[in-house]
C-alpha cells in the first residue's frame, strides 16, 4: 500500500507544500481510498559488489560499462504570473500554463486557525467545511450537484494562515465554476443541521485519530513541544472540548470576521489562452463586499516552546507491533533567512531516501520501512521533527541511533558529495513540482500567504545551488539542537517502558491507554 510516507515529510521545506503540511501535521484525512499497490521506499548504504559476470556466448553487455553523461539541460522558468486588482480591492494573481486544461483557482482569505480563540479551536476548519453545504440560493445538495455538473471539484478549507476556497475545473467551464465559487464564499447559508453534522463528524474523527498510532503521535508531539497557550500546540481542527462548543452562529461569525476582499487574493493557474481572467473575476468577485464585523487584528507574536525543556513521552498502546516515534523541537518560520541552507541541510539529514537517517536506520539496520526529517515552515515557527515507525523491540536502540546521527551532524561539515547530491536534487526536482495547474496555484498561494517577494521562486534554484557546507553547519548550529529534542513514543509500554526509563534520556511521562475524555 502506498504509505503515508514518513520520508516524504522531508520534502516539506518549500512554499507550495507548506499549505499542505499544516493539514498533514494534523493528520486529519481519514483513509478513504481503495488499497493501492505496494511501494519500495529505498534509501542507501554502500556495499561494493562489482564482481563482473560472465555472459552467455554472443551476449555483449559492454554498453553498460560506462555510466552515461547528462545531456545539455533544457531551460526552465516557473510560469510567469501577473497581478490585477478588482474594484473592491481584491487582488487576482494569474499564471498562464500552456497545455494545462484543468484550471485551478484558490481564493485566499487571510487569517486562519492561528487567530481563532482557544475555546473555539477548530472553528475556522469547520467554517471551511461548512461553506459548500448550501448558500443563500441553493441547499447543500443543489450546490454540490451544480458544481458536479461542471466537473468541478470545489471545496473550502483552513490552514493556520488562511481560510481558502478552491476549485479545479476544465477550462471550458471556468466561468460558471468561478460564479459558484463566489456564491460559496459570499453567501454561505451555514444551515444549522449541516454544521452540527460536520461538528459531530469532527468529534468522531478525533476518536478515530486516537486509535491510530500515527495520528496519535501527530497529536501528542506538538502538545509536547509547544506552550499550551500557543495555537500550534493543538490540532488545526481543534480538540473535543473546543469542537463540541462550536455551533452554527460561531461558524457564521468566523466567516464574517474573515470575509474582507481588500485583504483577499484569488490565484488562478492553467491554460488561460482565450480566458478573460480580468472580466470573469471582476464580474463574479468584484462585487464581494466586506462583512459587517471586521477580523480581530492579526496576532503578530511567534509560537512559544513549552516551558521546562525537552520531554520524553510514552503513549501506551498495548500489543503494538511497532513504536511510532516523533523526535524534534521548535523549528523556524518560513521567512527565516536561512531558508535555503535549511532546505539543503534537511535533504542531507533526513529529507531524501539516501539521507543519513534513512541510510542507517533503514538500509543498514532494517529497523524501519522509512524515516524522515522535516522543517514544517509556517508563518511562525513550525516544528522540526523526525518521524519513523520501528519494530517495538528496537525502540530504544533506534532512538539512540537517531540522536547519535543528529549530534554527529553538528560535529563536522557535510561531505562534498552529500552537499552536491542534495543541492542537485533540490534544483533538479523543482520543475517536477509544478506540472499541474493546482501545483502552480499552490506555489503562488505560498508567495501570498508568507508575504514573499515575486521573484522568490525564480531565485530558488540559484540560491539552493549556492549553499555552502559552512552555511549548512551554521544553520545546523542554530536550528538543530540535540539538547532540546523531545521524544514521543506511541508503543507498547509493556515492551518499551523499562528500556526507555533505563536509557538515560530523561524523565519519562507515561500516558496510559485510556479512552479520550469528551
Amino acid at each position: 500500500m502506498t504509505l503515508e510516507d514518513p520520508a516524504e515529510k522531508g520534502f516539506t521545506t518549500d512554499q507550495d507544500e507548506l499549505l499542505d503540511t499544516a493539514e498533514q501535521s494534523d493528520a486529519e484525512a481519514p483513509d478513504r481510498h481503495a488499497p493501492d499497490a505496494l511501494t519500495v521506499e529505498p534509501g542507501g548504504a554502500t556495499v561494493v559488489l562489482d564482481e563482473g559476470g560472465a555472459e552467455p556466448a554472443g551476449v555483449d553487455l559492454s554498453v553498460l560499462d560506462r555510466r552515461p553523461a547528462a545531456g545539455r539541460p533544457h531551460e526552465y522558468h516557473f510560469p510567469r504570473f501577473e497581478r490585477l486588482v478588482l474594484s473592491n480591492g481584491l487582488t487576482v494573481v494569474h499564471a498562464n500554463v500552456p497545455g494545462r486544461a484543468l484550471l485551478a483557482a484558490q481564493l485566499l482569505l487571510s487569517g486562519g486557525a492561528w487567530t481563532e480563540p482557544a475555546e473555539l479551536a477548530g472553528v475556522t476548519v469547520l467554517t471551511g467545511r461548512a461553506m459548500p453545504e448550501g448558500t443563500a440560493r441553493r441547499d447543500a445538495n443543489e450546490f454540490i450537484e451544480a458544481s458536479e455538473r461542471l466537473g468541478a471539484e470545489m471545496h473550502a478549507d483552513a490552514t493556520w494562515e488562511t481560510l481558502s476556497a478552491s476549485v479545479e475545473v476544465p477550462r471550458s467551464r471556468f466561468g460558471p465554476a468561478l460564479e459558484l465559487l463566489a456564491e460559496m464564499v459570499a453567501q454561505p447559508a451555514f444551515p444549522g443541521e449541516e454544521v452540527e453534522r460536520l461538528r459531530d463528524e469532527r468529534l468522531n474523527d478525533l476518536m478515530q485519530a486516537w486509535a491510530d498510532p500515527r495520528r496519535r503521535a501527530e497529536r501528542v508531539f506538538p502538545e509536547t513541544i509547544y506552550d499550551p497557550a500557543s495555537p500550534y500546540s493543538r490540532p488545526l481542527g481543534g480538540v473535543p472540548a473546543s469542537v463540541g462548543s462550536i455551533d452554527r452562529d460561531a461558524v457564521a461569525e468566523r466567516h464574517r470576521q474573515l470575509l474582507d476582499p481588500a485583504s483577499a487574493t484569488l490565484v488562478v493557474a492553467g491554460d488561460l489562452a482565450g480566458v478573460d481572467v480580468a472580466g470573469l473575476t471582476e464580474r463574479h468577485l468584484g462585487g464581494l463586499a466586506p462583512a459587517s464585523t471586521r477580523a480581530a487584528s492579526q496576532a503578530t507574536d511567534d509560537a512559544r516552546a513549552a516551558a521546562g525543556g525537552p520531554r520524553v513521552v510514552l503513549v501506551d498502546r498495548p500489543g503494538a507491533p511497532q513504536s511510532e516515534l516523533r523526535i524534534g523541537h521548535l523549528g523556524v518560520a518560513r521567512k527565516n533567512p536561512d531558508f535555503h541552507a535549511i532546505s539543503v541541510l534537511n535533504a542531507i539529514l533526513g529529507g531524501t531516501f539516501n539521507s543519513r537517517l534513512n541510510r542507517v536506520i533503514r538500509e543498514e539496520l532494517g529497523y524501519t520501512y522509512g524515516i524522515g526529517s522535516s522543517f514544517d515552515m509556517r508563518r511562525r515557527s513550525g516544528p522540526f521533527v523526525i518521524r519513523t515507525a520501528v519494530e517495538s523491540a528496537v525502540t530504544v536502540p533506534a532512538i539512540l541511533e537517531v540522536l547519535r546521527i543528529v549530534r554527529a551532524f553538528r560535529e563536522s561539515e557535510v561531505q562534498p558529495d552529500e552537499l552536491s547530491g542534495a543541492r542537485d536534487y533540490l534544483v533538479g526536482v523543482f520543475p517536477l513540482r509544478f506540472e499541474s495547474s493546482a501545483q502552480v496555484a499552490s506555489a503562488l498561494a505560498g508567495l501570498i500567504v508568507f508575504e514573499l517577494p515575486d521573484d522568490e521562486l525564480d531565485r530558488y534554484r540559484p540560491q539552493v545551488a549556492a549553499v555552502t557546507a559552512a552555511q549548512i553547519m551554521s544553520a545546523a548550529m542554530s536550528h538543530v539542537r540535540p539538547d532540546e529534542l523531545s521524544i514521543v513514543v506511541v508503543g507498547d509500554a509493556a515492551q518499551v517502558e523499562a528500556p526507555l526509563r533505563d536509557a538515560g534520556l530523561g524523565e519519562v511521562t507515561l500516558i496510559p491507554d485510556d479512552v479520550p475524555a469528551g
Partner: protein, 444 residues
C-alpha cells in the same frame, strides 16, 4: 470506440482533453518500447512494467514479488547498493516502484537531459541484477518489508480488512486469494535461491514494457532504448500462466465479525466482479462514482448527510485482469447508530442500482467528474507513462490511453443496471464487520 452520447446540458470538456501521440516498437529481444513526446516542461518520465506480480507467486512464497522489488534497489553489476536512488536524486529526479497483483512497475521522473542515466540504470538491473545479490541484502530488506507490513497493516486500525476480503472473495487456489504484502511466515522463509530463481523466471525484456513520456526527441529516445536494452538476451522460457478459471460469483454470502482496536464500528463489503478491461468493469467504475464519489453521491447523501448514521462511506473496484476482479466498499458507523442499520442502508443503495436505472442527471454529473479527473491525471508525464505501460502490458493495446475516457462516457444507465444485477447479489458478497474490542479482551 463507441462515441459518447451528447450531453445537451453542458458543453463537453472532452475538447479540453489532449490526444496522447505515441509510437511503439519492439526490439528483437521482445522488449516493447513506447515513446510519447511532450514538450510542455523539460522533464521526462520513464516507466517499466514487468508482467509479474503477487499473482505469479508460488504457494508458501507469498509476498515474494514485492520483496523482490526491493532487491531491484540493492545494486547490480555497475551500481552499488542503493546507488540507484542517489544517482536519480543527484540528477534531480524522483523514482520508486510498486508491486500489485498482476504486475510490478519501476519508474523515474527526471530532467529530460538525464534520460540516458535512467535508461542505463534500468538496463543494468534488468541485465545484471544477480551480480549484486547476497544474504546480507536479503536479510536487511526482509526486515524492511516486515516493518512495511507492520506499519501499513498490522499497526493500523481496520488494517487487516484487505487481506481478509480478498481471501473471502477468491478461493484458496486462486492467485488473488492473497494480497501482495504476503505473510510474515513466508517472508521469513525466503532464501537467496528464491530471489535468483524469481529473477530468472520473470525478469527479461520479453516480459516487459518500457515507456518514455516527456521532453524528448522521439527517434533519439527509441535509439537510446535500443542501445542500452538491445544487448539484453530474451528469456524464451517465459510463459504467462493461463487465466485462472473462477465462477462469476462467490456462491454464498460470507460473514465475519472482527474485534479490533477501533473506536467506531465499520462494515466492509466485498464482491467478485468482471475483470478490469471489460465493459462491465467500466460500468462498475461509473457506478462507484454515482455511489460514493464525493458529497453528491448516493451513499454520502443518504447515509452521511440525510440519515446521519455513517461517519464516512466509500466504494471502489480493484483493477484486476485475471478473469475476475474485486468490487467493495465500507461504511464507518457513527457511535449513535449501529452496524445493522448501516449495512442495510448500504445494501439498499446497491439494490436500488439493480431495481431502477440511474437518472440522466446522475450520469451526466458522474461523466463530468470523470472527465475532469482524467484531464488532471493526463497532465502529468508520470501518469501518462504509467497508463501507456499498463494498457500495453495488460491488454496489448496502449491506444486505450486515448480511448478509456470514451469508454467511461459510453456507459449507459442500462449498462450499470445490468452489471449491478450480476454483481450485487447476496450469494456474491462478503460482509466483514469490525467492532470495538471490549476493554478486558485479550490483545492480539
Amino acid at each position: 470506440m463507441p462515441q459518447p452520447p451528447a450531453d445537451p446540458a453542458q458543453p463537453s470538456a472532452a475538447s479540453d482533453l489532449p490526444t496522447i501521440e505515441f509510437s511503439q516498437r519492439r526490439l528483437p529481444n521482445g522488449l516493447r518500447v513506447i515513446v510519447a513526446p511532450d514538450h510542455l516542461a523539460p522533464v521526462v518520465a520513464l516507466n517499466i512494467w514487468y508482467v509479474v506480480g503477487s499473482r505469479h507467486e508460488q504457494l508458501g512464497r507469498t509476498g515474494f514479488a514485492h520483496l523482490f522489488e526491493h532487491f531491484m534497489f540493492q545494486g547490480s553489476r555497475h551500481v552499488r547498493k542503493t546507488e540507484h536512488f542517489s544517482l536519480i536524486q543527484g540528477a534531480g529526479g524522483v523514482n520508486n516502484a510498486t508491486t500489485y497483483f498482476d504486475r510490478t512497475n519501476y519508474f523515474e521522473t527526471l530532467p529530460s537531459h538525464q534520460l540516458e542515466l535512467a535508461l542505463w540504470l534500468e538496463a543494468d538491473r534488468m541485465a545484471t541484477l544477480l551480480d549484486a545479490l547476497d544474504q546480507e541484502n536479503l536479510d536487511n530488506q526482509r526486515e524492511v518489508v516486515k516493518n512495511e507490513k507492520r506499519q501499513s497493516y498490522d499497526n493500523r486500525p481496520y488494517g487487516s480488512f484487505y487481506e481478509k476480503l480478498m481471501a473471502a472473495v477468491f478461493p484458496v487456489e486462486h492467485p488473488y486469494h492473497h494480497t501482495p504484502i504476503g505473510s510474515m511466515e513466508d517472508l521469513n522463509a525466503a532464501s537467496v535461491e528464491d530471489v535468483v530463481s524469481f529473477f530468472r523466471t520473470w525478469y527479461a525484456p520479453n516480459n516487459a514494457v518500457l515507456t518514455i513520456v516527456g521532453d524528448v526527441d522521439e527517434e533519439e529516445a527509441h535509439a537510446a532504448v535500443a542501445r542500452y536494452f538491445g544487448p539484453i538476451p530474451a528469456n524464451p522460457a517465459i510463459r504467462q500462466p493461463a487465466p485462472d478459471k473462477v465462477a462469476g460469483v462467490i456462491g454464498a454470502e460470507m460473514r465475519e465479525v472482527v474485534a479490533d482496536n477501533v473506536p467506531l464500528t465499520r462494515v466492509h463489503l466485498g464482491f467478485r466482479c468482471p475483470p478490469f478491461g471489460s465493459a462491465q468493469f467500466d460500468a462498475l467504475e461509473v457506478a462507484s462514482q454515482i455511489l460514493a464519489g464525493g458529497r453528491g453521491s448516493r451513499l454520502y447523501r443518504r447515509l452521511v448527510r440525510e440519515r446521519r448514521i455513517a461517519q464516512d462511506v466509500t466504494a471502489f473496484g480493484l483493477p484486476l485482469v485475471d478473469e475476475a476482479a474485486f468490487f467493495g466498499g465500507w461504511v464507518t458507523v457513527r457511535p449513535d447508530s449501529d452496524a445493522e442499520a448501516c449495512e442495510r442502508a448500504f445494501l439498499d443503495e446497491l439494490q436500488r442500482l439493480v431495481d431502477e436505472p440511474v437518472t440522466d442527471d446522475e450520469l451526466a454529473r458522474a461523466r463530468a467528474l470523470i472527465e475532469a479527473s482524467e484531464l488532471g491525471a493526463l497532465s502529468r508525464v508520470e501518469e501518462v507513462a504509467d497508463r501507456l505501460s499498463m494498457y500495453a502490458a495488460l491488454f496489448d493495446r496502449p491506444e486505450l490511453v486515448n480511448e478509456q475516457l470514451g469508454r467511461y462516457l459510453a456507459v449507459s444507465a442500462q449498462d450499470i443496471q445490468a452489471v449491478a444485477r450480476a454483481v450485487f447479489r447476496p450469494d456474491n458478497r462478503v460482509v466483514l464487520t469490525y467492532v470495538p474490542r471490549e476493554p478486558d479482551e485479550a490483545v492480539a
